[in-house]
Amino acid sequence: MRNRYTKRTFVLELFTILLAIIFLVPFYFVVVNSFKSFSEILVDAAALPSEWLLSNYVEVWQVLDFPTAFLNSLIITVFSIMGIVVISSMAAWKMVRTPGKLSNFLFILFVSAMVVPFQAVMIPLVKLGGTLGLINSIPGIIIMYFGFGVPLSLFLYHGFVKSVPVEVEESAYIDGCSQFGIFWRIVFPLLKPITVTVIILNTLWIWNDYLLPLLVLQDTSLRTIPLATSSFFAQYTKQWDMGLAALILGIAPIIMFFLFLQRHIIQGITSGSIK
């Protein structure tokens, strides 16, 4: 019954498409006005531009030092995620394969950290980060992301490993394969679906994160895209023409990432939230 396309389905389809268009209206306003002059925005924000100006983008690109901000965001996101994937998959596998009080205790410890709000650790973390030399350094913030990324990622891997049969690993062990060999050559490839989920969830979070970079990366040359965009706004408050172009530049990379991978992303979110 679900698959029959009736008149009612058609009406429902039209209605949902209409909703989707209304849903997208904010993007229309931002895109259209980013190509207008400031005075034209004030006259009528709803109309299409009389002339599509690229000057806003050219100017913002330079003032923001967009390439630098983009590269910083990219380096931080990629290396943080690589580290998170490696350490949490290894730990989750070992914990599942070594049942006992210790593994149980550690699992509860990791998972309970998921209810700790960032604000509850940020103040001492800034002090500790200063002592350890993690402040104002890209490797420093990457290490912090390792620490914040582990609980959720480990939780997801833990749930997945439980469904992976142990027999292959045992026969490899009898054949004299080392633990590292077993994990990287046999287990890790089997974890691929959940690794995709872990990568997606962490990309959305780390790429968009604002507060941790704000606290840790004070040098202008180290700024990520959210930091650069926000300081731009603070400087040019209500200068909408430039501000909107900056917003479009800021959201373009992650939107493209999403559109290229949307099927995997939506699937990944699904498998990440429902076990």
Partner: protein, 304 residues
């Protein structure tokens, strides 16, 4: 014989050492980073919350429960930020889950465009809260005004971010617009797990749409409610970026979330000790809210 048992004992000990080493290599790195970045700062935070640390001086004076006393008796703004955040949380949880579930029910049907539509409704989730806040600031200030001029609807002609009441709903609107698509994805997954024959036989028995929804569909997807409520409660309670860029906590601090209040106490006012005390209270409240919610919805799941 003795040599043999000695060797056996040695190899057993050898194996135990090997096992411990292997456990440490695999679990150690994750535990180390987690401990340094989260556990140690959390413990330090508990200690600092009993001091008058100002963030600069190394010497910190131990003041006992002084910070907590001050927060509970003499900090109206913190109290107000808690009231705002709690009200916001309730409004946001109800609205975003209602929208998310409705979208899921619509997109579970055999629509030809359902993949594109899912992508569209999910889109706001990939943009960070900070940039979304700036986007909507423009929509509220210029976009709504333009729509108001065209349609003459009073809804669009209000000073959305300039008034405490409308600013509150402004944040609710933007937050719901952002996360409803995320909830939709989770609800769709749950809906697809329902055995189709159950719905078919109910239809044959003459159940109408409303009865199907309340008596069959909702009870069967209760686990999705547990997850969605958990996610929305914790996201709404910790709201920071979106709030900061949309209203900055204004007008007159009426929309200042707890997270912003704590941030300002520590990093703008330099009251680090007081700030950590607030963050400990915040942690306790978030933990209680989310645990109570999970326990309540889980219990219903079992009954269903």
């Amino acid at each position: 014989m003795k040599a043999y048992t000695q060797r056996a004992a040695f190899s057993r000990r050898h194996r135990i050492v090997k096992n411990i080493l292997s456990y440490a290599t695999f679990v150690g790195p994750a535990l180390l980073f987690f401990a340094v970045i989260q556990i140690v700062p959390f413990m330090m935070g508990v200690y600092y919350s009993f001091t008058s640390w100002n963030g600069i001086s190394a010497v910190t004076e131990f003041v006992g429960l002084e910070n907590y006393k001050r927060i509970f008796t003499d900090d109206e703004r913190f109290f107000n930020s808690f009231v705002f955040t709690t009200k916001f949380m309730f409004a946001a949880v109800v609205i975003s889950n209602m929208i998310g579930l409705s979208l899921a029910l619509m997109l579970d049907a055999a629509l030809k465009t359902k993949n594109i539509l899912r992508t569209v409704f999910f889109l706001p989730n990939v943009i960070g809260g900070l940039l979304l806040g700036f986007i909507w600031q423009f929509i509220f200030v210029r976009g709504f005004a333009a729509v108001g001029d065209i349609t003459n609807l009073s809804f669009f002609q209000q000073p959305w971010l300039g008034d405490a009441q409308t600013a509150f709903w402004g944040i609710v609107i933007v937050f719901s617009w952002q996360i409803s698509g995320y909830m939709m994805v989770i609800y769709i997954a749950a809906l697809q797990g329902i055995d189709q024959s159950l719905l078919d036989s109910a239809k044959i028995d003459g159940a109408n749409g409303f009865h199907m929804l309340t008596k069959i569909i909702i009870p069967l997807i209760l686990p999705a409610f547990t997850i969605c409520f958990f996610l929305t409660i914790s996201m709404a309670f910790k709201i920071f970026d979106l709030n900061l860029s949309l209203t900055g906590g204004g007008p007159f601090n009426s929309t200042q979330s707890v997270a912003i209040n704590i941030y300002q106490e520590a990093f703008t006012q330099n009251n680090y000790g007081l700030g950590t005390a607030k963050s400990i209270i915040f942690f306790v409240v978030v933990a209680i809210f989310t645990l109570v919610q999970v326990m309540m919805t889980k219990k219903r799941e079992v009954e269903a």
